[in-house]
Amino acid sequence: MLLWNAFREGNREAYADIYNLYIEDLLSYGYRVTSNRQLIKDSIQDLFLHLWLHRENLSETDSIKFYLFRSLRNRILRNIEKSDILPQTAEKILENIIEDFSFEQELMAHEAETEQIARLQKAINKLSKRQQEVIQLRYHSDFSLEEIENLMQLNNQSVRNLLHRAISQLRISFEMAGWFFLLITSFAG
């Protein structure tokens, strides 16, 4: 709250602090929503530029994080509509770049736990886009179901269904892979 208020009063350091606090979370979320990285970067730049220029019109917000996530999501969706590139083809090309990216992550996965997480990562990446998004918002970004409804513009039941299907699907992929002994025993039990 203090940080937000200092920023609204025109404090550049508070602005930079907000940027530094949330930029990685926002990028991470952006990569999840679309694989067009340029579009994500442009959208975030837009968002922060708009934020500074219109800071006097901003109201006190309960959650800076929620505010930023929602603005970013809306911006990305708007920019996707505007862009001339066919989303499918562009996404395909850029998907590979992202793929390499998580491959690096995987190389670092030496210990058993990190390896498990890396595999879980792969399983998550096989889910539908919206399932991936809902899992990240719920389990990584710690948004409540209510906030997710608002962010994704879905009703309560749809969010629940989406989460339910995502978790079930993850369970199935673990069972089929047959490597994650912990999850197999646990999910079966």
């Binding site: 530029l49 879980l120 990584h140 179901l145 369970r171």
Partner: protein, 362 residues
């Protein structure tokens, strides 16, 4: 209370809100609940341990790895863009850079003092005065974390306590009302009990409800105390003297999407609409709100129904106005902006009513 969880599988736990909150924030409330649960159902230990681990793993695995260069790149483009834009607009950076930096650091240092000090040394005065008058011993929850915290009260009501906020309440709600004391901000989802009203004391406002959900914003350093209603009906009283039962003033009744603000300077209660009114009808009903060349009065009526608000306009004057529009994802105020722009009209919010000021259509 525990039976519900007795038959839970790992997967059920992984999806359960209370469970996730406990794993992620290990609040004292959750620790108590889940340790008691395991005492009652010791054979669930393994399931709970596994579900815990999966929730933690899901949190780590669902994060997309971030390229730090992207973060730097955006910032490096942002700075010149800001400088350029600011040069053209009224927003002018202070020329005396040193002075400006000094001012900035004062704000930041104050901020740090606030964050570093344990909240105990910083007892909010109004709040302390109120809880001193409580009859029964109170339980206090202080949220000094950086995230909102969920608290379940003895009657099953759920409070989402924002950071730097605190809440006190009796371990058992005895007597004829359920009383809680708040400093800071919180969202309340109150269980229905018409026999025992739920009463929140927050600085100079007393909020009384039978069963509903609403947000209170009462930080002592702020000039205003606000109560905003999501569902149900809420009565709000002024409590200027910070006495516990001195709520015999005139009450203001709020319905969903309305809020009231108490301004400390003039001790006035002002009713208005919340910043983002929520739709009060079901999504199903909302889907029918598409208009083709419809009279303005129909559109306003639909908006009134959808948001439970009152829109005041000159029916005779605007009787010829027709519009084609569809209710999308816009907020109420965005929607009104669009309509007013099309009609060359304007609107303002007066005492929780939306007043349209427009001219005749041809």
């Amino acid at each position: 209370m525990f039976e519900r969880y007795a038959g839970y599988s790992v997967e059920d736990f992984v999806k359960d809100d209370n469970f996730i909150t406990w794993v992620k924030f290990s609040d004292s409330e959750g620790n108590l609940f889940w340790s008691e649960f395991l005492q009652n159902y010791p054979h669930k230990q393994e399931t709970v341990t596994q579900a815990r681990q999966i929730v933690i793993h899901l949190g780590e695995a669902s994060r997309m790895a971030v390229d730090k260069h992207d973060a730097k790149e955006i910032w490096s483009k942002l700075e010149p863009a800001l400088a350029e834009k600011s040069g053209h607009s009224r927003v002018v950076f202070p020329l005396n850079w040193n002075k400006w930096v000094a001012a900035a650091s004062v704000i930041l240092i104050l901020g740090l003092i606030w964050w570093n000090n344990p909240l105990k040394d910083n007892e909010p005065k109004a709040y302390t005065r109120l809880i001193e008058q409580a009859e029964n011993p109170l339980k206090e929850v202080i949220n000094s974390s950086s995230k909102a915290m969920r608290i379940t009260l003895p009657d099953g009501s759920v409070v989402t306590l924002e950071k730097a906020s605190r809440l006190s309440y009796a371990r058992e709600f005895e007597g004829n009302q359920r009383e809680v004391f708040l400093s800071g901000a919180a969202f309340f989802n109150v269980t229905k009990n018409p026999e025992k009203p739920f009463v929140v004391y927050a600085n100079e406002l007393v909020t009384k409800v039978l069963g509903t959900s609403f947000t209170i914003n009462a930080f002592e350093e702020n000039k205003q105390v606000t109560v905003a209603v999501r569902t149900g009906r809420v009565s709000v009283f002024k409590n200027k003297d910070l006495t516990r039962l001195g709520a015999d003033n005139k009450e203001i009744i709020l319905i969903p999407n309305q809020q009231v603000a108490f301004t400390k300077a003039d001790a006035m209660l002002v009713r208005s609409l919340v910043e983002k009114p929520q739709v009060v009808v079901s999504q199903q009903e909302l889907r029918d709100l598409t208009f083709t060349n419809a009279p303005l009065s129909d559109i306003f009526e639909a908006l009134e129904k959808a948001y439970g608000v009152e829109i005041v306009f000159d029916k005779a004057l605007l009787s010829n106005c027709r519009l084609t529009t569809a209710l999308g994802n816009e907020t109420l105020f965005e929607r009104l902006d669009i309509i007013c722009e099309a009609l060359e009209a304007s609107y303002k919010v007066v005492d929780a009513q939306i007043v349209i000021d427009g001219k005749k259509c041809n």
